[in-house]
């Protein structure tokens, strides 16, 4: 540090000038403030943002998932629980009878969507408001995940 900086007083004054500049600018140009008024205005995240999961459907509306357990195996938080069942269509081996995700345990790492061989699980919903008033409500099932129109909170 130079002597001028070590005397400190000048640097303090410089700091004070910087903060008062911010204050005055924000008072007189309140519209330019970068704050987002959250509940009224929602921030938009990048397309790569990992939001709440959804399950993809086939053309006939059944889940695309083949219950291969790749995602639940890859999941570091161990929060995907799948019960597999025989599929009526002989060309498809299995389908998930139950597909539950514990959103409270999920760390939104995206490993499940990486692991899926048939692009059945995605995190591209853009939903980041994952709130509920009871623990059980964070335990979401197949119906919920397939219904990708359910935007917003749980």
């Amino acid at each position: 540090m130079s002597l001028g900086e070590r005397v400190y007083v000048g640097e303090v004054l410089r700091g004070l000038l910087i903060t008062i500049r911010h204050l005055l600018r924000n008072i007189f140009a309140m519209k330019d403030m970068p704050t987002v008024q959250y509940p009224e205005e929602k921030p938009r995240y990048s397309d790569r943002f990992r939001g709440r999961h959804r399950l993809m459907k086939r053309d006939d509306g059944s889940p695309r998932c083949v219950a291969c357990m790749m995602c639940s195996t890859a999941c570091p938080a161990d929060c995907i629980h799948i019960t597999a069942a025989e599929h009526p269509d002989p060309t498809i081996e299995k389908y998930p009878e139950r597909f539950d995700i514990d959103l409270l345990r999920c760390v939104y790492c995206g490993l499940c969507e990486e692991a899926c061989p048939c692009d059945a699980i995605r995190m591209d919903t853009g939903i980041y408001e994952i709130v509920a008033d009871a623990r059980e409500k964070f335990f979401v099932d197949k119906d919920f995940l397939l219904n990708d129109e359910t935007r917003g909170t749980l």
């Binding site: 007083v9 303090v12 004070l16 008062i20 911010h22 204050l23 924000n26 704050t35 008024q37």
Partner: protein, 424 residues
């Protein structure tokens, strides 16, 4: 005798209203100021019938919340001292005001009432003596809480207070040498003079180093950033008031702000001329009241008019922006300022320039009290401003600043001033 009692009571009430009234305003200024400095909007959600007043409703909500909060008392505290500590701290923060002159005098029926609650001839010593008592409250709180973090916070507070009290005392010695008095009223009226006919003889002009040291020491004494080590949430949780909740916590909190007001009042009184308005002595004001009074009223009308216009413009521009009660807010505020402006204009009808000597004297008193309050408010804001500019010191930095920098500087300042006073 009766008059004396009434006058004193009125003065006490004025001071209490000033100090306690400033606390919620300061809390608001701190939250809103910090927000604006950091490019945030700050508190703006609490509302009364949809009117938010830019966050001014929050202090009311805070008070209601603190009053109704559960008062948790942990096991193992020392019951008596635990309960006593917040009162000691708050009491100490309030009684110091007694010796601070907030105006020259008020003329009532030919008698001059000095505007200071107690004009002690050892005024400044009283301030220091009482201020250092605050440490007892903090130590009591820390020890009685039976919590190691609280205890550490209290210890840090004590050592900090003791270290900076010395520099604080020495920093004003030069001033005392120049004004030859410990009486705050005399120090203030002494600052009304001019040096070489144009420079106000304020403490900061004749004792710049002393002023700098004193302001720094006051920051340490009031536990404000960068000297807020008694709290330090990152290393000792919340410090000495860790185990306190609801109103007991609120007392500590209010005491901090009350201390800030007294700190600001002391800085203004000792180094920035107290109630003096530079180049406008009392004689000048009373003699020129006929022109000054309409000037002040006119200025008030113009300023309120401009503010009202700004609000009305916003009301028109942002009509229906929110679609709820908030839309009425700019209009209401604009209306308020318009009424203030209109009242100041209407008072011209009373021909204020024909006030006569009694009115002129009252006008001078009001102006001077206004100057004092304005200075106090400015320095209160200064505390907030510095808090959101500087980071907290490390403990060893704090100690070496106190003992290795401030103490020698204060001594040097004293020696130089003493030599100067002896020569002149």
């Amino acid at each position: 005798m009766m008059e004396l009692v009434v006058a004193t009571l009125l003065k006490i009430v004025f001071m209490l209203v000033l100090v306690i009234g400033l606390i919620p305003v300061l809390v608001w200024a701190e939250r809103k100021g910090s927000a604006f400095i950091q490019d945030r909007t700050g508190p703006n959600r609490a509302s009364v019938a949809g009117i938010r007043l830019g966050g001014l409703v929050h202090p009311i909500a805070d008070v209601v919340k603190l009053l109704f909060k559960e008062d948790v008392r942990p096991d193992g505290v020392h019951g008596f001292l635990y309960a006593l500590a917040p009162f000691v701290v708050f009491f100490v923060a309030l009684v110091t005001y007694a010796v601070i002159p907030f105006g020259d005098y008020l003329e009532v029926g030919g008698r001059q009432i000095p505007l200071v609650v107690a004009d002690l001839n050892v005024g400044i010593l009283y301030v220091f003596a009482i201020a250092s008592l605050g440490t007892y409250g903090i130590v009591m709180a820390g020890w009685a809480s039976n919590n190691k973090y609280a205890f550490l916070g209290a210890l840090r507070s004590t050592s900090q207070m003791i270290s900076y009290e010395i520099s604080m005392g020495l920093a004003i010695m030069g001033l005392l040498l120049i004004f030859q008095s410990l009486r705050l009223t005399e120090i203030v009226s002494g600052q009304g003079d001019l040096i070489w006919g144009f420079l106000p003889k304020w403490g900061v002009v004749i004792q710049p180093l002393g002023a700098l040291l004193f302001i720094t020491a006051i920051f340490a004494e009031t536990n404000r950033t960068p000297f807020d080590l008694p709290e330090g949430e990152s290393e000792i949780v919340a410090g000495y008031h860790l185990e306190y909740s609801s109103m007991k916590f609120a007392l500590f909190f209010m005491a901090e702000y009350a201390n800030m007001v007294i700190g600001a009042a002391l800085i203004a009184t000792l180094f920035f001329g107290g109630w003096n308005i530079p180049w406008l002595s009392r004689q000048t004001i009373t003699a020129g009241a006929d022109t000054l009074l309409p000037l002040v009223l006119g200025l008030q009308a113009v300023v309120s008019g401009v503010i009202a216009w700004l609000f009305f413009r916003r009301a028109v521009r942002e009509r229906g922006k929110f679609g709820d009660a908030r839309d009425r807010e700019p209009g209401l505020l604009g209306g308020f300022f318009a009424v203030v402006g209109a009242l100041s204009l209407a008072s011209f009808a009373l021909a204020p320039w024909r006030v006569g000597p009694a009115g002129a004297s009252l006008f001078a008193t009001l102006l001077q009290v206004g100057a004092f309050v304005g200075k106090v408010v400015f320095f209160c804001w200064f505390f907030v401003w510095v808090r959101w500019t500087l980071p907290r010191f490390r403990y060893d930095q704090l100690m070496s600043l106190g003992w290795k920098v401030m103490l020698p500087l204060a001594l040097a300042n004293l020696v130089i001033t003493a030599v100067g006073v002896a020569i002149v």
